[in-house]
């Protein structure tokens, strides 16, 4: 295990143990480890900053509520993403959030910013079964095995959805990528 991964694993174990004992600094420690990644994931799933902030906060509240049940067995991160995923799906069902976020912040050159808007829009238009593997594997750089565990599907099924999703996204983007390359 690389040093960074080992250090993170030990820190995660320490915070989970502390959380189960009611240490108030433990939730903050876990939030500092995973808060940004959960926010990015929920933002990309929901396409809206306010809903992503709500979903992130709710994810960590659920961690707190189930603090006595959590075990530092290496599966915490997968479980955390599963919670975030379920919350995103609930929000999408409630609000049918499929439109481009009005409060998204796009920086960089105008051309790159336009591309990001177009990609975000195309991603939002994809069916959820294609969007999820793209967000986890291509945007979050997550390993296929972990993404498959979060989605509760097999690795071959994940790869099949990922490959189809990339092709569907390419078809939606049309010539945009070529014009901005």
């Amino acid at each position: 295990m690389p040093n960074d991964a080992l250090r993170d694993s030990l820190a995660e174990k320490r915070w989970l143990t502390a959380l189960s004992k009611g240490d108030p600094s433990a939730l903050g420690g876990l939030y500092e480890m995973y808060g940004e990644r959960i926010f990015r994931y929920t933002f990309r799933m929901l396409g809206n900053r306010t809903d992503a902030e709500d979903a992130t906060a709710e994810t960590f509240l659920r961690v707190l509520r189930r603090s006595t049940e959590l075990r530092a067995d290496g599966a915490f991160r997968t479980w955390l993403f599963r919670i975030a995923r379920n919350l995103c799906i609930d929000k999408m069902r409630q609000h049918k959030l499929m439109e481009l976020p009005s409060d998204a912040h796009y920086s960089g050159s105008e051309e790159r910013a336009t591309l990001r808007v177009t990609v975000q829009q195309a991603l939002s238009d994809l069916p959820i079964e294609y969007r999820e593997p793209l967000v986890l594997c291509d945007l979050e750089d997550m390993a296929a095995r972990e993404a498959a565990e979060i989605l509760k599907i097999s690795v071959p099924a994940l790869k099949s959805r990922l490959y189809r999703g990339r092709r569907a996204l390419r078809d939606k983007l049309g010539g945009t990528l070529e014009r901005t390359s």
Partner: protein
């Protein structure tokens, strides 16, 4: 080459999952096959664009709004970074 195998190889090429030797062979084949070349380059461009994506910026404002939501729901959370005063609630003066 059958269509299924062809598609799978292109998909793996796009995701940088092929060994270098096989990737070289794919690129060599694409040099004389415009359709294959288009399929390979456009799909890889999709993957590269997604990997470079910086669309979900985690701002300081979002960080503090999330913490505030947690505080408001009764979570005792302590982080190393102090909450700036402009994010704290102004309590009404008593008396």
């Amino acid at each position: 080459m059958n269509n299924e195998l062809y598609s799978k190889l292109v998909d793996m090429y796009a995701g940088n999952e092929l060994p270098a030797e096989l990737e070289d062979q794919m690129e060599l084949a694409a040099a004389s096959n415009a359709g294959l070349n288009h399929d390979m380059t456009t799909l890889r461009r999709v993957v590269d664009t997604l990997h470079q994506g910086n669309d979900a910026e985690y701002t300081e404002e979002s960080h503090h709004r999330i913490l505030m939501k947690l505080y408001a729901r009764g979570a005792e959370i302590q982080t190393q970074a102090p909450v700036p005063s402009h994010f704290q609630y102004n309590l009404p003066l008593q008396g």
